[in-house]
């Protein structure tokens, strides 16, 4: 009897050991995942290291290579999936998971990026295989939320929003807002009502002329966050007829470099770290991004939504032809208008004259169509910005053709070397100061980079004058 019991015990223990030893294989089996061959894994690691921004001071999202598996995406072929560290998500009805996804081709790796799934009332963790299979599709059954894609340096590439399984046109994004910036945007005071998971509304300035003032609504921000914490919000912008009608900031999580995070609520799953952990916050931005960060507010971008509205908010000191005080053309002795050679634009203001005769049209030599960057060197993404550096704004037509839509001079940087203020001329209008990302949408994306024809291109490039 004793021997039988002992044998049963040994068998059970053996089974337990077997299950424990093969837990990963069982997991693969249950989820229909495939183990990755060592040489493919090595290729992915090499490719990843080649793409990484070399600046060691930049916090980065590190792949958890030991948990790698492979799967097949409907629209993207065979993929190698590597989990990334997670943060706590305090919002009760939201779940977030993020992964490195490498595209496998010909026994090697042909590309890779970070994919972040944000579920709104949808359990991302329980459906992760389905999401990875369909994340490039325009329909993911039952899914409501966001699919955000970044390069391996966690720089944003694209975002897509879904409602009830179908791709929609909601204007929704994850935004990381430092508490200090948020406080400044509220006039230096954080009223008690903002905390304790209550809703706080703030009426902001009028949007474009012809639009009514809109509200910013903050939901669920916990109390007691230190000024050096960064809050991750899911921001939904509602617009009607080109006017912003409401911006809703739903608290998602936070991270505090000098404190243990106080995020309560559900962990997103995976190898999570608490709010104060090393993992960068969701929404990207953990890496240094093109010398500037997401501002707490964008007053100019909100007001100057259309070229036609500029005239109502900015002073036009010089027009193309000389005018009297009533705006009538001053004429020469033949009754012809007299060109105003003093009119200048952003490129001239930031970079000075351009001697290339193709860059201007006589007699308006101070209105240059492209900035003269010959005396400047381009700064890479990891370099700290200094006062006096210049910045150019790009819109890409194809992966190899672009227009430089705007230029400015950096007039203020923060202690980490991010540009916080730029002086520039919006067209021929008077110079104004603004956050580097707070420019009219016609000048390009607020994100540091854009994805064009599957290639990442910069939205802004900073330049420094040669010594």
């Amino acid at each position: 009897m004793k021997q039988t019991s002992l044998a049963i015990l040994v068998v059970i223990s053996g089974l337990c050991l077997l299950v424990f030893a093969c837990r990963k294989e069982l997991d693969y089996l249950i989820h229909d995942r495939e183990r990755v061959a060592p040489d493919v894994m090595e290729s992915a690691q090499v490719w990843y290291l080649q793409q990484l921004n070399p600046d060691p001071s930049i916090p980065r999202l590190v792949p958890t290579w030991k948990d790698t598996w492979s799967t097949v995406s409907i629209d993207h072929g065979k993929l190698l999936v590597v989990p990334a560290p997670e943060n706590y998500v305090a919002a009760k009805d939201m779940t977030v998971r993020r992964f490195f996804v490498f595209k496998m081709a010909g026994g090697g790796i042909s590309g890779g990026r970070i994919v972040e799934f944000v579920g709104e009332g949808y359990d991302v963790s329980s459906n992760i295989d389905r999401l990875l299979e369909l994340y490039r599709s325009n329909a993911i059954p039952d899914f409501t939320g966001l699919v955000l894609e970044y390069d391996v340096n966690y720089e944003p590439l694209s975002k897509r929003s879904f409602t009830d399984g179908k791709k929609d046109s909601r204007d929704i994004e994850l935004v990381n807002v430092p508490v200090l910036d948020w406080k400044e945007s509220l006039g230096g005071i954080l009223p008690e009502i903002q905390f304790g998971e209550k809703t706080m509304s703030k009426e902001v300035h009028a949007s474009a002329l012809g639009c009514n003032p809109y509200e910013e609504i903050y939901n669920g921000v916990p109390s007691g966050l230190a000024e050096d914490c960064v809050i991750t919000f899911s921001v939904t912008t509602n617009s009607y007829n080109g006017c912003i009608t409401k911006k809703t900031y739903n608290y998602l999580s936070h991270s505090c470099p000098s404190h243990e995070g106080s995020g309560s609520g559900s962990n997103s799953g995976g190898s999570g770290s608490a709010g104060g952990g090393d993992a960068p916050p969701y929404g990207g931005g953990g890496q240094r991004s093109a010398g500037d960060k997401q501002p707490a507010s964008t007053p100019w971008r909100d007001i100057l939504v259309d070229g036609a509205s500029f005239k109502d908010h900015l002073e036009l000191v010089n027009n193309w032809f000389l005018e009297d005080e009533y705006g009538n053309n001053i004429l020469d002795e033949n009754g012809n208008p007299i060109p105003n050679t003093e009119i200048s634009n952003c490129h001239y203001y930031a970079f000075g004259p351009n001697s290339d005769p193709n860059s201007y049209e006589v007699p308006w030599i101070k209105y240059v169509n492209s900035p003269n960057r010959s005396n400047y060197t381009e700064l890479n993404l990891s370099e700290q910005i200094q006062v006096g550096d210049r910045v150019c704004y790009f819109i890409w037509i194809t992966e190899n053709t672009y227009t430089i839509t705007h230029s400015g001079i950096v007039t203020e940087v923060d202690s980490q070397g991010y540009a916080t203020k730029v002086s520039s001329k919006f067209g021929p209008y008077e110079p104004v100061e603004h956050h580097p990302r707070d420019v009219p949408a016609s000048y390009g994306s607020m994100e540091p980079t854009v994805l064009i024809d599957d290639t990442t291109r910069p939205s802004r490039i900073y330049y420094r004058k040669y010594n």
Partner: protein, 170 residues
């Protein structure tokens, strides 16, 4: 008798040409001023047309500019100086065309000045005079037709900044 008729005809033509030539003084300057005023109203009206129509502040502004714009059109097309305007425009787009061709950037619809649009992609002063003649007199319209509807200006209807080819390696 026949010779007399010929002489009278020559004298009449001479008189007419003197009249047109006479416009190159203060009268022509005044006519040009009125045409520039029309352009300013046209640009201002087109700008306000781009705002949401349900905004009351803009509606008042737009109505006021529209009235000025329509009045100016009426003054040029139906006013007592109609023949002088027409005569000037005929001369400007033909005999005097060379002197007006050099004036770039005479758009009469709103242009987003914040974009780096080359002035040569906008109508010249000659083309503007041609637009006035074509819209108000040739086509008998009560407004300046948009560039899209004008055969000789269609190529300048949607000016855009000229893209550059990337020279960078990354």
């Amino acid at each position: 008798m026949k010779t007399l008729h010929r002489h009278l005809l020559v004298l009449m033509l001479l008189g007419l040409s003197t009249h047109v030539k006479g416009q190159t003084s203060q009268e022509v300057i005044n006519i040009k001023k009125e045409l520039y005023t029309l352009r300013n109203y046209s640009v201002a009206f087109d700008r306000l047309e781009r705002f949401p129509k349900n905004n009351s502040t803009y509606k008042v502004k737009k109505d006021s500019i529209e009235e000025l714009y329509r009045d100016q059109i009426y003054k040029i097309k139906h006013g007592p100086q109609r023949s002088q305007f027409l005569s000037f425009l005929n001369t400007a787009v033909e005999k005097d065309s060379a002197q007006y061709r050099a004036f770039l950037g005479f758009n009469y619809t709103y242009i987003d000045e914040t974009q780096s649009i080359r002035r040569s992609m906008l109508p010249t002063l000659l083309e503007y005079f041609n637009v006035v003649k074509y819209s108000l007199f040739d086509q008998d319209k009560e407004e300046l037709l948009p560039p899209d509807d004008i055969p000789f200006l269609r190529h300048k209807a949607n000016p855009k900044p000229k893209p550059k080819l990337m020279m960078r390696t990354n």
